[in-house]
């Protein structure tokens, strides 16, 4: 748990932000501290400088006596707290007045000004650290005759003065830092919840092979919520692909098994030498036919899978649906004649659309083929194409016995053969291919009944310009 916490993105983010916050606060406090200390020091300096000027004036008026009198006469606490020393260049200290609470050693420790410094400037202030707690602020003034008057004051050291501030900052700063780490971690933990859920879901899928696992729970809007939704969509889509693939394989295996068994049986029979070469040849020819059938079955199944999986390459071009319908009717004219079925066309106006002519041709062919198969002799098949707003509509209807309502969706299923159609030749894939191709074009196909009870297949395709090339089933 501790390791997890340490590795947690939320904590790392919170700590990083807290550190940045701490650094910024320290900088701010440093600046404040420096400013305050500077102001305090300036005040002391101004006070002692002022006194030096006063005393220098007094000295100028009446010499040492006047200066002494001035010092002794001013009994204000402010004045009494000051140390005064008059220094003669020849004889050293001539006059010393120390505040009453000073002891002798303290007086001795006030340093004499450095000769050069005082010589150059009329007035100077130095700060002399005395001990950890106190400092001297000493101002020196050079008198016109070269004597020097020193005024000093013992003050609390900067460190002592600003100690409460430092303490306050330390406390408040540490508190704020801890609080920010704590609250920050909590907030970041909450904010990164979708990531953890994502990771948990991925773990479940990877470790437990639970492919139905999804990220559950609702997340507010935002990038992570979008990520979670996309993740789920991705999983759904993958699941669909896998399912389609597995179904295809299952179907394929199932549907290849029967013809392969037949093929094998025929070949086996041919091998048993009956002594009749004609019989053997016939068996071999049957093998060839069966192989062709298998091959065709395989190709159509792959086409359907490709179309359903969105992998069918469509070579779209601008075309008139009527041309495809006419071509298909022409292709099947002899078959229709042979079956005694009249094929009528209803093509009143051009129906332009962007589509793959070969694939769409297969759609028309398969629908017509289907209609011709299930319409009894003497029947009638109508092929109609028209534009209907944003759709191109193709309908193939017959006056046969129709499709029972319960089977109208099922007829598009792969290898579906209704009870009535089992006797007919064919693979049971034609309508599946029709639907797969139509949907790959972004259209729909449905079966219903004509008013007369016959079957009617209606294909709706987006007309030219509105077709989205990428549209297709996921």
């Amino acid at each position: 748990m501790l390791d997890r916490l340490r590795a947690s993105l939320a904590l790392r983010l919170a700590v990083q932000y807290a550190l940045v916050f701490a650094l910024a606060s320290a900088l701010l406090f440093g600046a404040l501290y420096w400013l305050l200390a500077d102001r305090l020091e300036k005040r002391e300096q101004v006070a002692v400088e002022h006194r030096v000027t006063e005393l220098a004036d007094a000295y100028g008026e009446g010499g040492v006596q006047a200066l002494s009198a001035r010092v002794h006469n001013d009994q204000s606490p402010e004045a009494r707290s000051l140390f005064v020393r008059l220094i003669s260049p020849a004889n050293g200290a001539v006059f010393v007045a120390a505040p009453p609470d000073w002891i002798e050693t303290q007086v001795q420790r006030v340093p004499f000004p450095e000769a050069g410094m005082v010589a150059e400037r009329k007035l100077s202030v130095v700060r002399v650290p005395q001990d950890a707690l106190r400092d001297y602020t000493v101002a020196s003034g050079t008198l016109p005759d070269g004597w020097i008057v020193q005024v000093g004051r013992l003050t609390d050291s900067r460190a002592v003065l600003l100690a409460p501030l430092r303490r306050a900052f330390g406390l408040v700063g540490a508190g704020a830092l801890l609080l920010s780490i704590g609250v920050g971690t909590l907030l970041a933990w909450r904010a990164t919840r979708p990531i953890r859920m994502l990771s948990q879901t991925a773990t479940r899928i990877l470790d437990q092979d639970d492919r139905s696992a999804r990220v559950t729970g609702s997340f507010a809007a935002g990038e992570l919520a979008t990520l979670v939704r996309q993740f789920n969509t991705l999983l759904d889509r993958n699941a669909t692909h896998v399912r389609v693939l597995r179904d295809t394989l299952d179907n394929l295996a199932h549907d290849l098994r029967t013809p392969l068994t037949r093929l094998r049986g025929t070949a086996e029979l041919a091998m048993q030498d009956s002594g009749d070469p004609a019989e053997a040849r016939a068996a071999l020819a049957a093998c060839v036919n069966e192989s062709d059938r298998l091959l065709h079955l395989l190709e159509v199944l792959l086409d359907i899978s490709a179309a359903e999986g969105g992998a069918l390459k469509l070579q779209r071009e601008r075309l008139d649906l009527r041309a495809l319908v006419e071509r298909s009717a022409d292709l099947y004219s002899e078959v229709a004649q042979e079956n005694g079925i009249a094929v009528a066309l209803e093509l009143p106006a051009p129906v332009m659309l962007d589509a793959d002519p070969v694939r769409l041709g297969q759609v028309v062919n398969n629908l017509l083929d289907n209609a011709l198969k299930y319409t009894p002799a003497g029947g009638r098949v109508l092929l109609a194409a028209r534009a209907d707003g944003p759709s191109a509509v193709l309908s193939v209807s017959d006056n046969g016995s129709g499709i029972p309502a319960a089977e109208r969706d099922a007829v598009f299923r792969r290898l579906y053969r209704s009870d009535t159609s089992r006797s007919q030749r064919g693979l049971g894939l034609g309508l599946s291919l029709v639907r797969a191709i139509v949907e790959a074009h972004g259209g729909t196909v449905a079966a219903d009944a004509t008013p007369g009870g016959g079957a009617r297949f209606t294909v709706r395709l987006p007309v030219a310009g509105t077709a989205d090339r990428s549209t297709g089933k996921p």
């Binding site: 060839v288 065709h296 390459k313 292709l331 002899e334 078959v335 070969v358 297969q362 062919n365 083929d369």
Partner: protein, 223 residues
């Protein structure tokens, strides 16, 4: 007649070469594109059968280079891919015909012979005949045993196609390509339907226009 076979699958190559030799062709075989190109550039062939998927140099590139070098040899592509797109690409790269695997050898042979005949550019006679059947492409008259036979347009085209290939089997796919102008097999029984109608008019005794099981049809000049 010399035919070049460029095919990397040893089994397919072997049965194609054997079949062509039986049919009286001299054959050379190359198992990869580079060898095939070298052979095609150094020898004058009457036709070349080229697999699309080949090691080193694929069939399409091979033929493109051959055409770049102005070698006019007619080329038949073989491919395991059956999509229309591949077919078009094959023909665009300079191929003259295209067959998908698996194929019937008899159809391959018929296509190769057709390619060679087309390339030899012998002007076709406007009159086709086989046995007692004659067909005039211009007047569109058909006779059988001297008597006129009335054919519908598609029956006429089918007969013309069969007469051009008289004595050799033709596949349903070839018929669909040439009579219906369909570049892919729409998987219908229209060919069977028209063949049986034609048979009824031309060969009611079922001795000339025969079904070759597993291959297609053959029109025999002599019963």
């Amino acid at each position: 007649m010399r035919v070049l076979v460029v095919e990397d699958d040893a089994r397919i190559a072997s049965f194609v070469v054997r079949g062509l030799k039986q049919a009286g062709f001299a054959t050379d075989h190359a198992a990869d594109g580079d060898t095939g190109l070298a052979l095609a550039q150094s020898t004058d062939y009457d036709a070349a059968i080229v697999d699309v998927m080949l090691p080193h140099l694929d069939g399409l590139s091979l033929v493109r280079r051959l055409r770049g070098a102005r070698r006019p040899v007619p080329v038949l592509f073989l491919s395991a891919k059956s999509s229309v797109d591949d077919r078009i690409r094959g023909l665009q790269s300079g191929g003259d015909d295209y067959m998908t695997k698996p194929f019937a050898f008899s159809e391959l042979l018929a296509r190769v012979q057709a390619l060679i005949r087309r390339a030899s550019q012998v002007p076709e006679s406007t009159r086709l005949a086989a046995g007692d059947v004659t067909l005039d492409l211009v007047s569109r008259e058909v006779t059988r045993g001297g008597e006129a036979v009335m054919l519908q347009p598609r029956e006429f085209s089918l007969l013309a196609f069969l007469l051009r290939h008289a004595g050799r089997p033709v596949s349903k796919t070839m018929i669909l390509e040439h009579v219906w102008d369909y570049s892919f097999d729409p998987q219908t029984n229209v060919v069977d339907v028209v063949v049986s109608r034609l048979r009824a008019k031309i060969d009611p005794e079922h001795v000339r226009l025969e079904t070759v099981r597993g291959v297609g049809y053959i029109f025999r000049p002599h019963a």
